[in-house]
Amino acid sequence: MHSCCGDRKMELRGRTISRGVAEGEALTTTQPISFYGGVDPNTSEIIEKGHELQGKKVKDTILVFPNGKGSTVGSYTLYRMKKGGNAPAGILNKECETVVAVGAIISEIPCVDKIDISKIRTGDMVRLENGVVTIKKQKFQ
């Protein structure tokens, strides 16, 4: 579901997994992310070999990816990132699963799923609030 509001602003509605308000620049990937082993909690850098976002830092971004994968310890990794100031500001998923859901809740990172993540590009300004995702497109797209 989405409705356009002017040229470069878009609104998507999803399901709230973890409550709260978050705003930031989108960092998007079509590949699942494993927080345990796939992300360095001390630098926030994606370190999984061959991942589209390898070398990118997720800190303060609205991290957009289809779903989580890997060990349930990944929930604790998200928590550690939050405590160290290295967590994403918010998380958007296509289909959230256990590891990310639990991680987002315990870390109090706003998280919304069941949205069409293909509508969001890296660099877009994104705001999450109560299941509503507002996107301001980056220029010249």
Binding site: V73, Y79, T98, V102, I106
Partner: protein, 398 residues
């Protein structure tokens, strides 16, 4: 999702931080997987205990929960990264031990039984047929669903803790009868000759059925140790944490063999050994007890080691719960095993202890143990207890 007034109050934070976070987790998982409500659970098994896996992140979160979190149902604990009483003999560093003790302190504060075993059903956390429970630890989850006939999803560490603080879990997945219907018939025609064949069979079935629920025929008899080894292997190598073994799983008589079917023959078992075993003959680590050794297995190890000497080049572990070790002490099994040069690794195991870089090659009776040892960069040999004891004495696999 329907919530009772009491559950709403928990969600509003009226029962403290740990309960609030916990019920948020349960409700979120319930929403994701389509649960209509929460249900009571009879017991909880919490995994994610080894500091090796938790790291400082996990420790921090556990401490936060322990501030006001108290478990509401019987809650037992998975193995830690070390023997909690004598870690030095296992070569664990003081630095690791300090952190591991802090993890255990947090769990103790929550009111959890510090059982530190992957076999809770052997030490007093034994659910009944049909009982809803919330367990993590894949081998125990599979045993509870498939050997006992209790009902549990494969929880992660945090979601199991959440269930313990609320005394409930979300009603979805394997809690629902409609999701417990077998969907592939596994016809075992292979002859199982030795104990490790059960692990090899688990490997074959896990790989063949992937995320389906197998209905297994052709097994005439299976004892506790064989079943616990099979449970650990089948789920490690790919299947859902539920199988039906005709004549053995309670309730198996209610189901007919599904149409889709696969056959397991002798050659499949042979191939399983070929892919689990590496080309290696010098062994420097032997571990028996994945899942944790039962008292019967410990008795068997003592019988085979009596009067023998383990090679000085070999580190030999019997991984078990402290409760089993206490029984072993009273029958002098402990003395016999230690006299031969073996060590008891209580509270811990080969899958969760910090072993990376310490050993080059392991021999074990456990197919699951082989999987985790490879992750610790070891070469692996799967075999019977007799073969492992022979390797312990000579230092070589033959």
């Amino acid at each position: 999702m329907y919530l009772t007034k009491e559950e709403e109050r928990m969600l509003d934070g009226e029962e403290g931080y740990a309960v609030k976070k916990s019920i948020e987790i349960l409700v979120a998982l319930g929403e994701i997987y389509g649960a209509e409500k929460l249900i009571n659970v009879g017991s909880v098994q919490v995994a994610g205990v080894s500091y090796h896996n938790l790291g400082d992140a996990g420790l921090e979160f556990l401490n936060e929960l322990a501030r006001d979190g108290k478990v509401r149902v019987l809650t037992t604990l998975n193995p830690a990264g070390m023997d909690l009483e004598d870690w030095r003999k296992l070569g664990i560093s003081e630095e690791f031990a300090e952190k591991q003790k802090l993890v255990i302190d947090a769990f103790r504060k929550m009111g959890i039984i510090i059982s530190c075993t992957c076999t809770p059903y052997l030490i007093g956390n034994l659910p009944r047929y049909g009982e809803h429970i919330a367990w993590s630890e894949s081998s125990a989850v599979t045993f509870a669903n498939s050997v006992i006939g209790a009902k549990t999803n494969r929880e992660g560490g945090p979601s199991a803790l959440a269930a313990a603080f609320v005394g409930k879990t979300a009603y979805y997945g394997l809690h629902l009868e409609k999701n417990r219907v077998p969907d592939i018939h596994v016809d075992v025609r292979a002859k199982l000759k030795k104990f490790s064949d059960w692990g090899a069979l688990g490997y074959c079935i896990g790989k063949k059925v992937e995320d389906k629920i197998p209905y297994i025929t052709g097994i005439e008899a299976a004892d506790l140790d064989e079943l616990k080894s099979f449970c650990a292997s089948v789920v490690t190598y790919g299947s859902k944490p539920l199988f039906y073994m005709r004549g053995i799983t309670p309730g198996s008589e209610k189901h007919q063999p599904p149409k889709e079917h696969v056959i397991i023959e002798d050659k499949d078992i042979k191939e399983a050994y070929e892919s689990i075993n590496d080309d290696v003959d010098v062994i420097d680590f032997i571990c028996i007890g994945c899942p944790h050794a039962s008292i019967k297995e410990i008795a068997e190890i003592a019988r085979l080691l009596k009067g023998k000497k383990i090679s000085p080049n070999i580190e030999f572990w019997v991984a078990t719960s402290r409760s089993m070790k206490q029984l072993a002490d009273k029958r002098s099994y402990t003395k016999t095993i230690e006299k031969a040069g073996g060590k008891f690794a209580c509270d811990t195991c080969m899958a969760v202890a910090p072993l990376k870089g310490r050993f080059r090659s392991v021999a074990t009776t456990s197919a699951k143990g082989c999987y985790y040892s490879r992750a610790n960069n070891m070469k692996t040999k799967l075999g019977s207890l007799e073969e492992c004891i022979a390797a312990a004495v000579t230092g070589k696999w033959s």
